[in-house]
Symmetry: C2
Subunit: 304 residues, 2 copies
């Protein structure tokens, strides 16, 4: 029996509630296989498209108050958490497995002095014209950047997670053999101000949050499920090559060679290294190969 | 030491995120007093204004998908849960109390055969004109009613809670001395279809959900915090009288005399009776008197 943290991409969950429900029916089958193999499972998930949708609804609606970004993130934890626990719970019931699963609303602590706060890089929400973008900067104080020729978007910092506020509750639930969904969307980012934790407009990378959580709960394996079957070198080129098992040292060389795309594979690899370096195992694999990846028979295995 | 379920009204939480944060700072002080007295605490809460706001944002926004009512409820659990655990967590830290608190996304099971499904009565969301209301009935299949001369509104059923899906996790957390926030907004209503739980457009009364939860976790006291200091007879009349301690038998007589307003005090009293009848105690009190009410020194005490 191992303790696994499974990190699901927000993009794997579709664009609307019906798509999300449909996609989760298949994902639930994979997760239940893992549980049948006797593993302890914690599920982390992204929320990019979902928190964008919630943020957009409040921006476009004329009768509702402005909704700050941490609160939109909290809503996305409720929304995705409900569908995850419902679909996995239904699959467990179908297979007569007596186990409980639920999402915990989760705050992840970041450092106010994190350099990311000086340099917001993570685009969120809608696209705006240059004029609108100047207004938003003036009125709301948002940082705005031009995004890939498609218009201007708000950017927020992406600081590193340093602790999970609700960790003791997660540990209690795992001890009693429950399945926990946590750090949704990388967690609701909060900073310490004296005794107080205060929500901040930021996005914690969900793979970094998953790696930090995996470390805190002393998990054995971190599984990052994404759109590709493996980590590749020379990706998209003639000499493209899938990595099956790779050491941290080798990965660090490949990072120096700029083999991995920033904002895409690179953060997954860095999170995987962070977790694996304490004699643990990280796996990066596709959702399609999830079951084999859980058995370390597919994907890219990173051993510390 | 007693185990208490505290049921907070959604109206006590304000109309926007800033109001909610501000109001919760005071509520947090009351809850922490309760914890300092050594009690085990479960917090339930309403979500009327908040789920209405979320539902409205998605209705008014043109670029986001339609958001079904159970999903809006799940979002409200994340939104209110985050503010509750943040404010109470901050107050605990301020007073150097080492305890964890978190909201659990919670599904509450209702019976598909509940008569409430034949007769939707609970108004939700925006007001519409007669024409719009006819269209919504045709296109979306919504039940619409005229509401107090202010226009037409969608109504959904308000079935009775029969079980709390995540109850074993709540019990595990209480066993380890954590503080749990659950059945937000009465819980996400789900019905059993074979092995499957399926979300339904309905609103479970949060006091009924709190009473059911209190029964399931074998709580000692159910405290319903509302806008008035006591339950009154002849309310608003010259001979108005506050009830301080009252038996179930007496309350049932008063219900027959139609002493209590439907949709307002009556459901709170019925929920209180349901819980108290198994030799337990229910209290209905105002938020202002919360600390005295927790000690059974204020409010209306109902003993079974």
């Amino acid at each position: 029996m191992s303790r696994l943290v499974v990190s699901l991409g927000g993009n794997a969950l579709g664009k609307n509630p019906q798509e999300q429900k449909d996609l989760l029916k298949d994902i639930a089958v994979h997760i239940v296989e893992l549980i049948k193999d006797g593993h302890e499972v914690v599920i982390a998930h992204g929320n990019g498209p979902q928190v964008g949708m919630i943020n957009l609804a409040f921006s476009e609606s004329s009768s509702t108050p402005a909704m700050p970004f941490p609160e939109c993130g909290a809503m996305s934890q409720g929304y995705i958490g409900y569908h995850l626990q419902n679909s996995i719970g239904n699959e467990l019931a179908k297979q007569n497995i007596d186990k409980s699963i639920a999402a915990i609303v989760t705050q992840v602590i970041v450092d106010e002095a994190d350099k990311a706060f000086d340099c917001p890089t993570k685009p969120i929400g809608s696209f705006y014209s240059l004029d609108e973008s100047i207004k938003l900067k003036e009125i709301m104080g948002y940082d705005m950047v031009e995004d890939s020729g498609r218009g201007y978007r708000r950017v927020v910092p992406s600081p590193m997670p340093i602790d999970v506020k609700e960790k003791e509750m997660i540990k209690s639930l795992l001890k009693d053999n429950h399945i926990v969904i946590t750090v949704g969307g990388g967690g609701i980012p909060v900073v310490k101000k004296g005794h107080t934790l205060e929500g901040v407009a930021a996005v914690i990378d969900k793979d970094n949050a998953s790696a930090k959580l995996a470390e805190i709960i002393d998990a054995d394996i971190l599984v990052i499920l994404t759109a590709v079957d493996n980590v590749y070198i020379n990706f998209g080129k003639e000499n493209e090559e899938a990595l099956h098992e790779v050491s941290i040292t080798r990965l660090e060389e490949l990072i120096k060679e700029k083999q991995f795309a920033e904002g895409s594979m690179l953060p997954k690899i860095k999170a995987s290294i962070n977790f694996a370096k304490n004699k643990k195992i990280s796996v990066i694999a596709s959702l399609d190969n999830a079951e084999a990846a859980f058995k370390l028979e597919a994907g890219t295995i990173i051993k510390g």
